[in-house]
């Protein structure tokens, strides 16, 4: 059962990921990523990360992807031209990437880590991966990381305003001066 779930999830996630890379239209790419995230959330569940699976769907596939869609709509779904100024990158890049995949796989499979050959320990703490457990950890051991992440969101918001916000002087068609 677990295997089937995994392979379904894996094939789905992978397929969607390939689609992201391959499809020409950015809109479809965004959609493909949403699909990828859904499958990925499923795999998260298999790894006993219920809270994260939920977060992925809600926050990510929901909120963030909406942003993508908006932007894609705003700038227009431009299809990439067939012409490529440096076609060799199209060949060299994937070859190297495949090599990297092989390298990482060898590193993982060749590892002497004894726990690798197992599906993971059964005696996980109760509530493993539940919001409660994760929340506890976040508030106890990783408080700083959590707070910093929140500040990061704040800063990202400011950055978005700076970059994308329409400015007064733009509207007035005036060059900016001191203290604008």
């Amino acid at each position: 059962m677990e295997q089937i779930a995994f392979f379904v999830g894996a094939i789905g996630a992978l397929g969607a990921a390939f689609a992201v890379v391959i499809v020409k239209n950015p809109f479809y790419s965004v959609l493909a990523l949403v699909i990828h995230l859904v499958f990925l959330a499923g795999i998260f569940l298999l790894l006993m990360a219920q809270f994260l699976a939920a977060a992925l769907i809600v926050v990510y596939a929901g909120a963030v992807m909406v942003l993508y869609v908006f932007v894609a709509a705003y700038v227009g779904g431009i299809e990439e031209p067939k012409w490529d100024s440096s076609p060799e990158l199209r060949i060299v890049g994937p070859i190297l990437a495949v090599a990297l995949f092989i390298a990482i796989s060898i590193a993982v499979l060749g590892s002497g880590l004894s726990a690798l050959g197992t599906p993971g320990p059964d005696d996980v703490p109760s509530g493993f991966g539940t919001p409660e457990a994760v929340g506890h950890l976040m508030m106890e051991d990783f408080l700083i990381a959590f707070e910093a992440a929140s500040l990061l969101l704040l800063i990202a918001a400011v950055a978005a305003i700076v970059l994308a916000g329409r400015r007064r002087e733009d509207r007035k068609k005036l060059p900016g001066g001191e203290g604008a």
Binding site: S85, S86, L89, G93, L96, L100, I106, A107, G110
Partner: protein, 668 residues
Amino acid sequence: MTATWAWLVLLFPLLGSLTIGFGFKVLPARVAGLIGISAIVAAFICGILALIGLQGEPSESRHVASSLWEYANVGGLRIDLGIYVDPLSIFMVLVVTGVSSLIHIYSYSYMKSDQGYHRFFSYLNFFVFSMLVLVLGGNFIMLIVGWALVGFASYALISYWYRRNTATKAGMKAFVINVVGDIGLYIAAILIFKNLGSVDYGTVFEKAPEVFTTNEWEIVAICLCLLVGAFAKSAQMPFHTWLADAMEGPTPVSSLIHAATMVTAGVYLIARCHSLFELAPTAADVAAWVGLATLMIAGTIAIAVTDLKRIIAYSTMSQIGYMFVGVGIGAYSAGMFHLMTHAFFKALLFMAAGSIISAMANMQDIDKMKGFRKAMPFTAAMLIIGALALSGFPGTSGWFSKDEIIDFAHFRGGMYDWMWAGMLIGAFMTAVYSFRIIFRILPGPACKEAEYLEEHGHVIHGEPKNPATGELEDTEVGYPGEEHHIAEQAGGMKFAMSVLGILALIGGLVQVPGVDEVITNFLEPTFEDSVFAHMHPSTHEAWVGLGEGALISILGITFTWFLYIRRPDLPVKFRERFRAVHALCVNKWYGDEIIDFLIVSPVKAFGRFCNRVFERFAIDGATAGVAGLTRSAGAAVRDMQSGMLRGYAVLMLFGILAIAIYFLIRSI
């Protein structure tokens, strides 16, 4: 006391030189000349006083070493600022200062209208000072110092008329060849120090026989190195080429340096180091053979060339060849004797020649001179006296001194007999070339310059041309100036020539075989340790030798008379007939060309190679190569920096992969 006088001998010319040099703006020209003369005369007097002091000593301790201060002293190589006074050096001092005094007096008049009067006398005094350092120096380093300073002074005087390109070239040639000789002395001194632990004459000559066995390679090497110096300074083969060019200097300079004093330094050196040469007979033979070769070759050249001063210059080379043979075969006092008499008659000849040259408006070609007998009777007389002495006419000084050397060679026998024969041939040639001058320029109808002199009582003013190149000369500096009216009227010149004339005639009488042997006796303390000191031909043998000499000389003179007076067409015919031989002689046996080919050209070619090829390609090329390599590496880096984001990602992935693979390999 002797030492003090000797130091004063050095001091006066130096002071004279400096006074004239520093005072060139304030001193009137005459005063400068007088200072110059008195400095040398003072030195001469001090020399005599030193002689008297020295003679007061017992014969076995008749040498004095004196040191002013430690000049340099490292690692046992101690060099003192010291002098060494013994009969040999005093002999040289007297000859040098004596002849120099006369030449100064001559110059006082001769250079009257030259604008560089101060400079001339300053140089002249400095030259005498250097020469005195050379002969008085108490160790090999002082010898080298004097040696090189003489070379320098010679350079300064040769290119005295420095606006002439030919003069500066000649100066350079003389200087560089002299420096080559200096290097020979450097190496000799180093070798001496290495083997004997000292460079002081006293120690060296004392220890040499203990350290070296006869003809040991080191002593031979030392002597050969010394000989390099001696040959260079004394214009012996193959370093002879500079001497003829040195005639670019004013005539008194030729007279002083290139006849009477400086060029004899080599002879002095061998005499001074006779104890070393006797340990290395091979080297001594080399000296003698080279002397012989030089005297013969120089004789042939002197017969062929037509430049008055050059003829005398070659004759100088030739006579010094005699001296080399003399000191080379062990006839030290004979060599020194000839050195002295040669100083007299050669100085005289140059002075007389100078007189004629100035009358010819600086023309030196004997082909164009004629009939000066009447125009300049005094000069003509002096010229004849000089020529007689030079050719060893019986009774003159040259007869006694030259034939003593020739005779000694015969006395040594063996291979030295060959030298004897060679020297006799040389003597014949001497008579020929000396009287060639006389018969060419004195008799006959007067040429236009002589005629002018006769009519107007002063010399003609020709175009100031460089005799060597025929270029117009710059009259602002140098000779002859507009006011140049000397011929033989000037008292100073006449006085100097008369004194020398008398000495040339009777100077030989100091050493007449069987009668008196002043020179030999005087120098005996110096040469006492020599194996040849007490070997000399008997009086009878000596007189036989003198007779041979007289015969050769008279034969030569007669032959010349026949050739130039009776059959003046013959020389031309000879010249036509033996064109190659004549060309060989006129071109100085191609000595310049050979040296040029063997040394100068390769050195210059090497310089050009370094400059144009090596520097450009190897040095600059390597620099540019490294720089270019760096730059092209930079270009490669910048090319990779294409601005293409995707390219950056690929390179990054490449880096990641490389590191991952490195670690994968490490983990195995």
